[in-house]
């Protein structure tokens, strides 16, 4: 149940890329933060819905996954620099891993992240695909 509750708390960020923006310095954070690390106590954070478009900053190809991700291997995990500012770690889907390049433009899609066995809760959220 602990995992279910944690997953449920993450729904806003995983479904709709809700991050934080500091009204003082303008910096954008994902996931959400409570305190701006730049402005400290002067900072004022508010929720921001990130647009879900950006570029691949760097990536890695996973050839040896854990058992639960065997059906999607080999797969690409990338750090994406969003147009809104923040960097996020995400899977890149619907691609040949060998075709992925740093700098590729990507957009957010909604996918299944993991399942707790065949009778547990299913977690959904963002992944990214290369724009064409």
């Amino acid at each position: 149940m602990k995992d279910t509750v944690r997953g449920w708390r993450h729904i806003p960020q995983r479904y709709n890329l809700i991050g934080s923006k500091c009204l003082e310095c303008g910096k954008v954070f994902f996931p959400k933060r409570i305190i701006c690390p730049e402005c400290r106590r002067k900072g004022q954070l508010e929720d921001i819905k990130l647009r879900g478009e950006g570029k691949i900053y760097t990536y890695s190809i996973i050839n040896t996954p854990t058992d639960e991700f065997k059906t999607i291997a080999p797969y690409v995990v990338a750090i994406v620099e969003l147009d809104d500012g923040a960097k996020i770690t995400t899977q890149i889907v619907d691609c040949n891993p060998e075709d992925v390049k740093i700098g590729d433009e990507v957009e957010m899609v909604f996918r299944k992240i993991r399942e707790e066995g065949d009778d547990g809760v299913i977690s959904y959220g963002f992944k990214f695909r290369i724009k064409k």
Binding site: I11, Y15, N16, K49, K70, T71, I72, V93, D94, V109, F110, R111, K112, I113, I122, Y124, K127, K132
Partner: protein, 346 residues
């Protein structure tokens, strides 16, 4: 009467050719392909299911509708492959499009016509003034047992419709349904694959209901096939679709645009809604459309729709059906079996 304010479609990237499935089971690909009028079908990626397909289609529909998603008062998702037996897909969709929490939501199930049943429910809520906008989705990741005839067509995809009164791009003239208790195709609780009555799914099931629903709405409106610019039917395969069109007296030109089964297979609850979307993608203001779904069990919902000039402003805002069909990547049977979870893992 209510109308369509926005619509969106999602078709997974992957395809498998009929000849590749026939190769595995030793069937003659030409006989199968010609017999069913299906060349290939869409295949969901391993991380796609009815919820993800519904969300993608729904997000496109909200974008095309150009509305504040918080004004959506009802979300209905029609499918026979909801990821959970208990726990709605509709709540996932509502949350993911930013419509939560002030709305009613539920999952519908009526074989392949649950999506159009959701559209009718939204029309009712909108016309009665209970909600401003309703979101109805028809989506499936259809199941077909390995080696069964259904495996050649059971595919994946979905379409979403925002139903409302203001800024519609097409307006419903009327809807008419024809429903009987006909066990032509079913899946019992807990079973992974459906069973069907073979030829019994034809005349007493598909054709009887589709034709009765079409004739019913003609009678209600005083219209006839020649009054329509486009027609779309449910399409378990291309053959049934073409035969239904011919039986009712529609020309190839009227029925061509909505027929997508040859390229993506049978998307079940998505089939009629996606076919209708393909027509809206090319329709002109003033065009009259007849859409007739079919769900085994059995029933058909018919809709008579007139397109208005708002279509031009909204059409190009999100991907069109033809673009989603053209964007594809073929898989062989082994990858298809892995993607669909047909392999027993250690």
């Amino acid at each position: 009467m209510a109308g369509i304010v926005g619509y969106g479609v999602y078709i997974p990237l992957y395809r498998i050719k009929v000849e590749e499935i026939a190769r595995v089971w030793g069937d003659d690909p030409e006989i199968i392909s010609k017999g069913l009028v299906v060349q290939e079908k869409s295949v969901p990626a391993p991380d796609e299911d009815t919820a993800t397909i519904s969300v993608e289609a729904a997000r496109y529909s909200v974008k095309r509708a150009m509305i504040d998603p918080q004004k959506i008062g009802a979300v209905y998702v029609g499918s026979e492959s909801h990821p959970y037996a208990v726990k709605p897909t509709a709540t996932i969709v509502a949350e993911a499009v930013g419509a939560s929490p002030n709305l009613t939501a539920a999952d519908f199930e009526f074989a392949c016509k649950a999506g159009t049943a959701g559209m009718q429910a939204c029309m009712g809520l909108v016309d009665s003034g209970i909600v401003e906008y309703g979101l109805a989705v028809g989506a499936d990741t259809a199941q077909g047992a390995p080696g069964d005839a259904l495996e050649y067509t059971a595919s994946a995809g979905g379409a979403a419709y925002i139903i409302g009164h203001d800024n519609t791009l097409a307006d419903f003239e009327d809807t008419y349904s024809f429903t009987t208790d006909t066990p032509d195709f079913y899946r019992r609780e807990g079973k992974p694959y459906p069973r069907h009555g073979g030829r019994f799914t034809g005349e007493p099931a598909y054709f009887k209901h589709v034709i009765a629903a079409a004739k019913g709405i003609f009678e209600k409106l005083g219209s006839e096939p020649s009054d329509y610019d486009h027609v779309v039917f449910h399409q378990p395969n291309g053959k049934f679709y073409l035969k239904a069109a011919k039986k009712l007296g529609f020309s190839d030109e009227q029925s061509r645009t909505g027929l997508l089964a040859p390229f993506i297979g049978n998307t079940y609850s998505g089939a009629t809604p996606i076919g209708l979307a393909a027509i809206l993608d090319i329709a002109k203001a003033g065009d009259r459309i007849l859409a007739v779904s079919y769900g085994s069990g059995a029933g058909s919902d018919a809709f008579s729709i007139i397109v208005n000039e708002e279509i031009e402003r909204k059409r190009d805002t999100v991907p069109k059906v033809s673009e989603l069909i053209e964007k594809k990547k073929y898989v062989d049977y082994a990858l298809y079996a892995k993607f669909k979870g047909k392999l027993r893992m250690a």
